[in-house]
Structures are given as structure tokens and as C-alpha cells.
């Protein structure tokens, strides 16, 4: 009770501070009072502190299982392990929004802390825009999703955290992803401020590039964590399903990736200003749009904690206000690019980066249309459709080929103007080798897809070119590692898709089944009692085609509260393949549904994305 009150009023204080900051900053700008009687930094810190306090109140409510609080009742149970009581705090709609807000206030505080050298007016404007966003979130939280609602009479026991959320990867996935999403809000506010101030110059670019990279790093890591979780927890053995909730996180990623390539051009040549601004606005809009789609209940998924149309409408209105505000500012304050630097030649680093942007926008458009078209169609003519992986594969895969080629030689081009004559023979030689390797791979596998061969060639080309580059010169290490990582990423997905095999059957204890290249035997099943679930552990022994015998022990968990069954796959990981076995109950008979998969080069997908992140981190260092 006390903690709930403290948490609630702490949030109200935060909102008041936010409104105060908006008016104070406007006043400062209007009357040019740059003496700053009160320290902005300390108010921003106070605001961060109010949200932090409120967040800790909520965590304590969860830890002490105080069921007088509505969301604790809905998402916790006294028998849940302590770790999942704590992570349950953001495993629900209200708590996760509080986390959003926490990161928002933290970032604006850090932004002010680290931008001492920037002009005052620019800083004040950034604070205004950021506080508009923050106050929007405060209102959203307090009006539609108050995390501190009471329940009376106080229930004796809670409903428990959804068991599939009881997982370490999922405990850190939301905070990391939010750091990426919220980072984009800083980029948004600061770009608008810089636009109004006509402050888009080299200093600003250097300063904002750090924020872009931070957001990009966290967004990438957040998406990867979600993907790893889906791989082992959902039991399908895939890492990306083109599910709308996955797509909404991918869209800002494309935008952000395009943005930080553009910002390099802006930094070096002071062109493409407007384009960079459009990307900055789009990135944040897409992050918000993701929140809207996921939270409004339009998409049904694990992320939709509660379907409440009121919330959807609130976010939608808020989103529209932000978009209109930014578009108006964009058109009113847009300045002509100075024509001195306007010379762009066919073959230069600038054009190759523009090409990157084109591809990013194309991928973005495909994902966006594939995600929202079914929603529109349902609203318009009540047809229910779904757009699955084939749609995305068909539209994205062919365009990866030129994309990969550009990715290989783009970074090697000079600024302003370059020609391709140098190293011509070497490049053709590498390309031929790649073609040969790819042809052999496809030929041995017995598949004959022309497009697959070319795709393999393109990715091998990128692989070798970046590898040679990496070994030759040591400068610009971040970029080289990131491009190299991307080639490994594409290659591992390709190998994964052509070399993976699977087998599924319904088996009873003692059954032995031969499948295409091995034998699978269901040895026994044992039951264990854990703190908040019963566990059934199956023992399987598998003989593969080389007569190696190994055992896998997949598990079925039957949670007490709420009563949900989950499957925990048993995965044996090696550098070449993952052996993935998952079992499931069908009904109360002797049969178990068994699915055995060999996923080739699975670990390399995670390694390459991690390497991509390392590339991002190394780019931070560079001036």
C-alpha cells in the first residue's frame, strides 16, 4: 500500500517536472535568459530519480508478492523464483512502459551530461522535444496503464508470470531493446533541435553519431536476444519467423542502419542533410509505431499483454501528434543544401552509401507492407489473410545479391570520385573463385537453383574481400568487422537453410524409429518436482549416419500457476550444427510428439550477429 502510493506520487512528480521543464526551456529561449539560474542537469536528474524510485517501488512490490497491487496479482505468484519475480516487473504492459520511461529520462539526463560543448539553445530545444515525448509517456502511464492500481479485497495468491516468459534471455531482452528504441528518441529530438538552430555541421554530426551507434548496438543486441529466445523456447527450431512483432523491431533497425551510413557522408561532406533528418524522424516513428502495433492488441502475440483499445488510441493520437510536429518543423526550417559540395560522381563513397540506403529503404518497405497490409485488408473488407516467410523471402533474397556486392567494394571507394580500373583483375579472380565454390556447394548438395548459386557467390565475394581488407589495413576496423560479420551472417543462414534436416513422429516410450539418416530411440521418461512446475524429462538416444550414438534429454514443464505446458528443447551445439530435440504432449495418452532437427551452422548466426555488434562498438572509438 505504502509502496504503491510512493510509486504513484513519484510518477506524478515526474510529470510535473516534465511540464515545468518544457515551459522553463521555452521561456529561456524566448527571453534569451541564458544565465540558467537553476541547473537543468539537476532537474533532469531529479526527474530520472522519481521514475527510478517508482520503478524500485514496483520491483519491491513484486519481490514481496504484494497482491494488493493489480499487476503483481496478474503477473506474479508467491512460488515463482526470486529472479522471475523481479523480471516479472517488466514482463507486463504497465511495468514495461515504466521501464521505457525510465530509459527515456535516463537518456535525456545522460545527453545533457555528455553534451557540455554544444550550444545552449540547441540543448534547450532538445530538452523540449524530449520532454514532450516524456510527458506523453507519463500521461499514457498514469491515465491508461497505471502500474499502481489497488485490488480490494486483497487476493491471497497471484496468477503467476506467463511461464514462457520465465527465461533468462527474455529477462534482459526488453531492457536492451528499449535502450535501442529510446536511443532513437534522442536522435529524433536532437535532429529537430539542430534543424531549427541550423546547427547541422560537423560538430553536431560527430556528437550525434555516438548516439546513433549506441542505439544501433542495443537494438541489434535486443533483436538477437529475442531471436535466440524464440529459437530454443518456442520449439520450432527457427530463428526468425517474420512474425509481425519481430518485423516491427526490424523496421527501425533498417532505418537506423541507413541513418548511420548517411551520417558518415554528412560528417565528411556536409551533404544529404535533409535525408539524414528524414531517417532520424522515421527511425523514431517506427519505434513508436512498433509500440503501438504491439501494445494495442492489433497483433496477437506474446508481447500483447492486455488488449485494451483505449491504449491503442492513446498511442495512435500521440504518434500522430509527434509525426505532424516533426513534419511541420521539417518543412518550415528546412534549409537549402549549399551547392559547393553538391558534386556527386557516379563512382564514389557517397553514391555507394546512397545505394546502401536505397536497399535499406527497399527492405524496410517490404517488411512494412508485409506487416501492415493484412491489418488494413481486415479493416477494409474483413478478409483475414496472413503473410508468411515465402512473401518476404521472395522479395528480399534476390536483392541481397547486388546489396552484398556493393557492400564489398563500396567501402573501398574514395570520396567524391573514383574509378574501378585498379585491382580489376584481382576482383574478377576473387569473383571467379567464389562462383566456383558456390557452384560446388550447390552441386554436391544436388540442388540446382540459379539464384541460390549467385547468392552464395555474392556472399562469398563479400566474405573474401572483407577478409583480405581486414588482414591488409588496420584502420576503420569497426566497419570492416561489421561487413565481414554480415557476410558470415548471410552465409550461415544459407548453409542453415540448405543443410538442415528434420524428422518428426509421435512416439511411445520404448519406440525405435528409423529415419532418413539415423535411428531415434525413446528410452524413458522421468518426472521431477520443481519449485513452481512439474517436469517430465525424456531420454532419447540417437544414432546418426556415422554410427555415433548420443543422447538428448528434452523436457516438458507443467507449470502450476498459471496452468501452462511448455517444452524445453534439448540442444547439442557444435561448430557445424545444432542437434535440436523437442517433445510435446498431445493428449492424455501414451504418445509424445517428437521433433528432431539438425540445424546446420546455427551457432554461426549468433556469432556473426555478435561480431556485428563488436563492429559497432569498435566504430564508437573512432573519431
Amino acid at each position: 500500500m505504502l509502496l504503491s502510493n510512493l510509486g504513484y506520487y513519484s510518477l506524478v512528480l515526474g510529470l510535473i517536472l516534465s511540464i515545468f521543464l518544457i515551459f522553463y526551456s521555452i521561456n529561456e529561449i524566448k527571453y534569451k535568459l541564458f544565465n540558467l539560474k537553476i541547473s537543468l542537469l539537476s532537474i533532469l536528474f531529479l526527474q530520472f530519480f522519481t521514475v527510478l524510485l517508482s520503478f524500485f517501488c514496483l520491483i519491491f512490490l513484486f519481490v514481496y508478492s504484494d497482491f494488493s497491487n493489480q499487476i503483481v496479482y496478474n503477473n506474479s505468484h508467491s512460488s515463482d523464483p526470486l529472479f522471475y519475480k523481479i523480471t516479472g516487473t517488466w514482463g507486463n504492459h504497465e511495468g514495461s512502459l515504466l521501464l521505457w520511461l525510465l530509459v527515456l529520462t535516463l537518456f535525456i539526463f545522460l545527453f545533457n551530461l555528455t553534451s557540455k560543448g554544444q550550444p545552449k539553445r540547441y540543448k534547450l530545444l532538445t530538452i523540449i522535444f524530449q520532454q514532450i515525448i516524456i510527458s506523453g509517456f507519463f500521461l499514457f502511464l498514469l491515465i491508461t496503464s497505471n502500474p499502481f492500481n489497488y485490488l480490494s479485497p486483497i487476493p491471497i495468491e497471484g496468477l503467476g508470470l506467463n511461464p514462457i516468459l520465465q527465461d533468462p534471455a527474455l529477462a534482459i531482452h526488453p531492457p536492451i531493446l528499449y535502450l535501442g528504441y529510446v536511443g532513437s528518441s534522442i536522435i529524433f529530438s536532437s535532429s529537430l533541435a539542430a534543424l531549427i538552430e541550423k546547427n547541422i555541421n560537423r560538430d553536431w554530426t560527430v556528437h550525434i553519431k555516438k548516439w546513433i551507434l549506441y542505439s544501433w548496438i542495443f537494438l541489434t543486441a535486443g533483436i538477437m536476444l529475442g531471436s535466440i529466445w524464440a529459437y530454443y523456447e518456442l520449439g520450432w527450431g527457427g530463428f526468425w519467423f517474420w512474425d509481425p512483432v519481430e518485423n516491427v523491431s526490424l523496421m527501425p533497425w533498417f532505418c537506423l542502419t541507413a541513418l548511420f551510413h548517411t551520417i558518415i557522408v554528412l560528417e565528411k561532406r556536409l551533404i544529404l542533410k535533409s535525408w539524414a533528418l528524414v531517417l532520424a524522424i522515421a527511425t523514431f516513428t517506427l519505434s513508436m509505431n512498433g509500440t503501438f502495433l504491439v501494445r494495442s492488441g492489433i497483433l496477437n502475440s506474446v508481447h500483447t499483454f492486455a488488449n485494451d483499445p483505449e491504449r491503442g488510441i492513446f498511442i495512435l493520437i500521440f504518434l500522430f501528434i509527434l509525426i505532424f510536429l516533426s513534419i511541420i518543423i521539417f518543412f518550415v526550417f528546412q534549409e537549402d543544401e549549399n551547392s559547393i559540395n553538391k558534386n556527386i560522381f557516379w563512382l564514389s563513397k557517397e553514391t555507394s552509401i546512397l545505394v546502401n540506403n536505397w536497399f535499406m529503404m527497399y527492405f524496410l518497405a517490404v517488411v512494412l507492407i508485409g506487416t501492415i497490409y493484412p491489418i488494413f485488408l481486415e479493416v477494409i473488407n474483413d478478409h483475414k489473410i496472413s503473410i508468411g516467410p515465402p512473401f518476404f523471402h521472395k522479395l528480399i533474397i534476390p536483392f541481397l545479391i547486388p546489396f552484398l556486392i556493393f557492400m564489398a567494394f563500396g567501402p573501398k571507394l574514395k570520396w567524391i570520385n573514383d574509378d574501378l580500373k585498379k585491382n580489376k583483375i584481382k576482383n574478377i579472380f576473387i569473383l571467379l573463385i567464389c562462383l566456383l565454390i558456390s557452384f560446388l556447394i550447390i552441386y554436391i548438395k544436388g540442388k540446382s537453383y540459379l539464384i541460390l548459386t549467385i547468392l552464395f557467390t555474392a556472399s562469398f565475394y563479400l566474405f573474401f574481400v572483407t577478409l583480405i581488407d581486414f588482414l591488409n589495413k588496420k584502420y576503420n576496423l569497426g566497419q570492416k568487422i561489421a561487413h565481414f560479420a554480415f557476410s558470415i551472417f548471410v552465409l550461415s543462414i544459407l548453409f542453415n537453410s540448405i543443410y538442415s534436416t528434420e524428422f518428426s513422429a509421435n512416439m511411445k516410450i520404448g519406440d525405435e524409429i528409423k529415419f532418413n539418416n539415423g535411428i531415434i530411440k525413446f528410452e524413458k521418461i522421468e518426472t521431477f518436482k520443481e519449485k513452481n512446475f512439474n517436469s517430465l524429462v525424456g531420454s532419447f538416444s540417437i544414432t546418426d549416419k556415422n554410427n555415433n550414438i548420443f543422447s538428448l534429454e528434452p523436457e516438458i514443464r507443467i507449470y502450476d500457476q498459471p496452468k501452462i505446458v511448455t517444452s524445453e528443447a534439448d540442444i547439442k551445439t557444435t561448430f557445424f550444427s545444432d542437434k535440436f530435440l523437442v517433445i510435446n504432449l498431445i493428449k492424455d495418452d501414451d504418445y509424445f510428439n517428437v521433433r528432431y532437427q539438425i540445424k546446420a551452422f546455427m551457432i554461426w548466426i549468433w556469432i556473426s550477429v555478435s561480431l556485428l555488434i563488436v563492429g559497432g562498438i569498435l566504430s564508437l572509438r573512432k573519431k
Binding site: S301, Y362, I369, I385, F391, K394, N506, K587, N593
Partner: protein, 139 residues
């Protein structure tokens, strides 16, 4: 005849237009082929003819209808007005059970018989396909 800049701009704009045409063409074609319609057993009953396109069928798994064999599972999807027999071999999601919502993706053999290639997981124990919800409310 024209300056370099005009040529450049002309080239740029024409590439832009061509790219857009290409993208729209590709999108429309992909929509035509890769979109999967979602139907209820009643929708299937009302269909005039059966085509070979991939569809999704949603509804509830009828009580007592699941029967398991080594290489396949048979069950009945119902929307409480009509029902359809489904046969499936492969992995089932955790929440696949009788009297729970289910979405099956696959091909129709005839109006009463559906061959599923995929059974979709819904993460929420209380999830019900929207059609089923409507059907139950009408019921």
C-alpha cells in the same frame, strides 16, 4: 546539348521511377502468390469450388477428436456450426489440445478434409481465433 547536371538529374529521376515500378510489380506479384487466406470451417462449407492454394483454417479442436498414430495426428476443427477433419504429421505446439483454439495451415482435399502442413502456436492459453470468438458469441 544539355548540361551534365541536367543529365544527371534526368538519370536519377528515371531510375527512381523505374525502381518504384519494379517494386510495385514485385509486391503485387508476391501478394498474388504468397498470401494465405484465413478461413473458418463455415467459410469452407460455403465455398463454391476448391482450389489448390494454401489456406489457414482456424477454430476449436473438437472435444474427444484427437487421435494419434505414429506418423500422424487426426483431429477435428469446429466453429460450432461446421467442422472439418484435419490430418497432420509434424510437431505440434504446446497449446494444442482439445477445446482450445487452433490454426492449421495447409491444403484442402475436399470440403470436409484438410491436410495440414503446419499447426500454429499461440502463446496465450486464453487465445482464441477471432472467428471462433465471434462464432461462440453468436452461438
Amino acid at each position: 546539348m544539355y548540361g551534365k547536371r541536367v543529365k544527371l538529374r534526368f538519370f536519377f529521376i528515371s531510375t527512381l521511377i523505374l525502381t518504384f515500378i519494379l517494386i510495385i510489380y514485385l509486391l503485387l506479384e508476391a501478394f498474388e502468390k504468397e498470401v494465405v487466406y484465413f478461413l473458418s470451417p463455415t467459410d469452407i462449407k460455403n465455398m463454391s469450388e476448391i482450389d489448390s492454394k494454401k489456406i489457414r483454417v482456424g477454430g476449436m479442436v473438437k472435444n474427444g477428436s484427437i487421435s494419434t498414430e505414429t506418423d500422424k495426428i487426426n483431429f477435428i476443427i469446429t466453429d460450432f456450426k461446421n467442422e472439418i477433419i484435419v490430418t497432420y504429421s509434424g510437431a505440434v505446439p504446446n497449446l494444442f489440445m482439445e477445446e482450445k483454439g487452433v490454426v492449421a495451415e495447409g491444403y484442402l482435399k475436399d470440403k470436409n478434409f484438410f491436410i495440414a502442413k503446419k499447426i500454429l502456436a499461440k502463446h496465450d492459453e486464453n487465445y482464441m481465433p477471432p472467428e471462433v470468438k465471434e462464432a461462440i458469441e453468436d452461438y
